[in-house]
Symmetry: C2
Subunit: 392 residues, 2 copies
């Protein structure tokens, strides 16, 4: 079932964390060559004729001028057609989507998708805070990630009785998953009480409700589905995807207990894949804040409207539960190097659907996994991708 | 001949210039609706299911956070799949290329491509100069556009005897063309002597060898070639395109009298289109500096190696000449609002190939036109697009 014109045949990533000893280009190269080396039958680098580069940092803080050429040179393939995508938090997943379009259009054969970001070593003088002080049109009025995501989560608490304890359970779950993922930024465990007792950043988000800032890169290799078996006996197919936008400004939005762009993107992806949410074996969703993961459950159809708090409470979304969410540890515990995040979610789906996820392997029944990002200014853009084992 | 899977059915742009009374979103909307209104048989906005947004400013100066959602909202179509491309100076033309891929992949039906930029009203405290002062890794060491492009032009002068007078002739020609273009930023005329007597910015570029900084936006509407006739009796087809990258750092480059990425991109585009350079009726090329236009002639195959100076001297590239280059006025005189530039070149090709370019109409013989950008840090990325009247 599904679109299935493009296959993923390799996937790799760097450790996520505070990687002060590696630059952006170095991280991108490391992720790319990890993906290349993961290709079961190997892939001749001469076959790679295009690349898509997901990177946000240049836009947000203005101290880099990365382009497709930055990536092409970093991976040792100057000459290839390389495009940089910058589309808010879904940057990495949109880069993947554009790569799929290039392959499906017949214009590229084997394409590398690399997302990379360095968030942890910005000098103070060019930081987001400094941008605010200098009169940034949004940031200087407090338009940061917490304040952009908080209103919908607060409204969800008001409408459906979702609690801070249920949000803290998301953190507890995702840290627990990350403890099984050697690439994750955060290892160890946090308890619900620790989350609730951590300092409040922006109501309802305590500091442990928030994902960390991260450095890291992730990569996948895609090709036309009908030649995937040259590279591996177990390709994973692109069953469907969707990208959607919301009205940009808060006063124009119509939904306040979730994000319409995610609902639209999910509908497009499910339709393209020819499946419904109950056929998913796992989902990697955009848990930049714990409460956001809960709203995502409903936007993506993983549980009924208003039931997200209950879903995490009863363990539905834990590995071994009805629909494991963020088995990788998610943004909360694996980390969130923005341009890399969506690609890393696809790396997790690839390994899970090939039953190579080790200690955090989820149970496969239908053979489909979903990846999701939502973000951009005013949380106005979302990408959903569905990968599947099935073909035809 | 050629790819011809996608057609352009509408094109429009704002005036380029110092547009202090219009914001980025307003300019994008104006260009988009100009393109929509240009569609001969009209186009129902409900059919527009995707958009590509070319915008660089956010990256270069960090004071905007534009995404696809910015464009979707600006043109009144929140909900559609909208992606922001940022790929150096070829940003607009790469956005167009991605739109073509989406249509050819069968994932989008009618797609808007909008490039827009506001370069003229940055507050001093967030300017490029200020970024340099703050320790920008490139800009603080003088890594600006003039110093990135000058070395190859100087080498061309050394190798082939290209002169400052010949470069000044490019400015004279492009100002002369722009005087016929009501949308151009610069009207009037400059003489070769005026260019040569204008202040030196960075050897060999005098200030009148440089394009201005510009505000503006441009848009085109594309759809699958086989449904183009719903919208117009005179669609213009996408015959071919190519994107290529160079080694990022100067010490890794192999060509110093031009840019290898342009040569590679051009070869890909000509091959895809199934034509050679002598079948072009016009070209819109990336004349950010006069000398760069000359080197582009050779990189694009419009004249023999080393003969570019002579080509402009004998009038080959003037309207009415052997191969008119930049009949719109080019970046030098029409203006260079970065994300809009490539799209505006496509607007010019669309109008010229439909014989609607008024006083600056070129003579059509083969029915093909070429568009070209080159840029990004270290001049490492190039896009070439070929549009044609022919189909099949």
């Amino acid at each position: 079932m599904g679109w299935n014109k493009v296959a993923v045949v390799g996937a790799g990533m760097t450790e996520f964390g505070e990687l002060f000893d590696a630059g952006l280009e170095q991280l991108c190269a490391e992720a790319f060559y990890a993906a290349v080396e993961s290709v079961d039958n190997g892939v001749d680098l001469d076959l790679v004729d295009a690349a898509y580069f997901g990177n946000v940092m240049g836009s947000l803080q203005g101290n880099e001028i990365p382009s497709g050429a930055t990536l092409a040179s970093a991976i040792g393939l100057p000459g290839i057609a390389a495009t940089r995508i910058e589309n808010g938090c879904p940057t990495g997943s949109d880069a993947f989507r554009q790569a799929c379009l290039a392959v499906a259009a017949g214009v590229a054969d084997v394409v590398a998708v690399v997302g990379g970001e360095k968030l942890r070593e910005r000098p103070t003088k060019s930081s987001l805070l400094e941008s605010g002080r200098m009169g940034h049109p949004f940031l200087s009025f407090g338009g940061t990630a917490t304040t952009l995501f908080a209103p919908q989560v607060l409204r969800h608490m008001h409408e459906y009785g979702t609690t801070s304890e249920q949000m803290a359970m998301v953190a507890e779950k995702n840290w627990s998953h990350a403890s099984l993922n050697p690439k994750a930024q955060r290892h160890g465990a946090v308890s619900v009480t620790e989350v609730l007792n951590s300092p409040m950043v922006c109501d309802p988000f305590h500091v442990l409700d928030c994902c960390p800032q991260s450095d890291g890169a992730a990569a996948v290799i895609v090709c036309a589905a009908d030649r995937a078996h040259e590279f591996t006996d177990t390709p994973i197919y692109v069953a469907g995807f969707g990208l959607a936008t919301d009205p940009l400004y808060m006063h124009e939005k119509r939904l306040f207990t979730g994000w319409e762009c995610t609902r639209l993107a999910a509908r497009r992806a499910y339709t393209m894949a020819g499946i419904e949410a109950d056929q998913l074996d796992l989902a990697e969703v955009h848990d930049c804040f714990t409460g956001v993961e809960l709203l995502n459950y409903e936007d993506l159809g993983l549980c009924a409207e208003g039931m997200a708090g209950k879903a995490v409470e009863v363990g539905d979304t834990r590995i071994g539960g009805r629909i494991p969410v963020n088995p990788s540890g998610g943004l909360i515990a694996k980390g969130h190097p923005i341009g890399a995040t969506g690609v890393a979610q696809l790396v997790e789906l690839y390994e899970q659907l090939r039953e190579e996820a080790g200690a955090r392997q989820v149970n496969l029944q239908h053979g489909y996994g979903l990846q999701h990002n939502v973000g951009g200014y005013s949380v106005g853009i979302s990408v959903v991708t569905i990968l599947g084992r099935a073909y035809g």
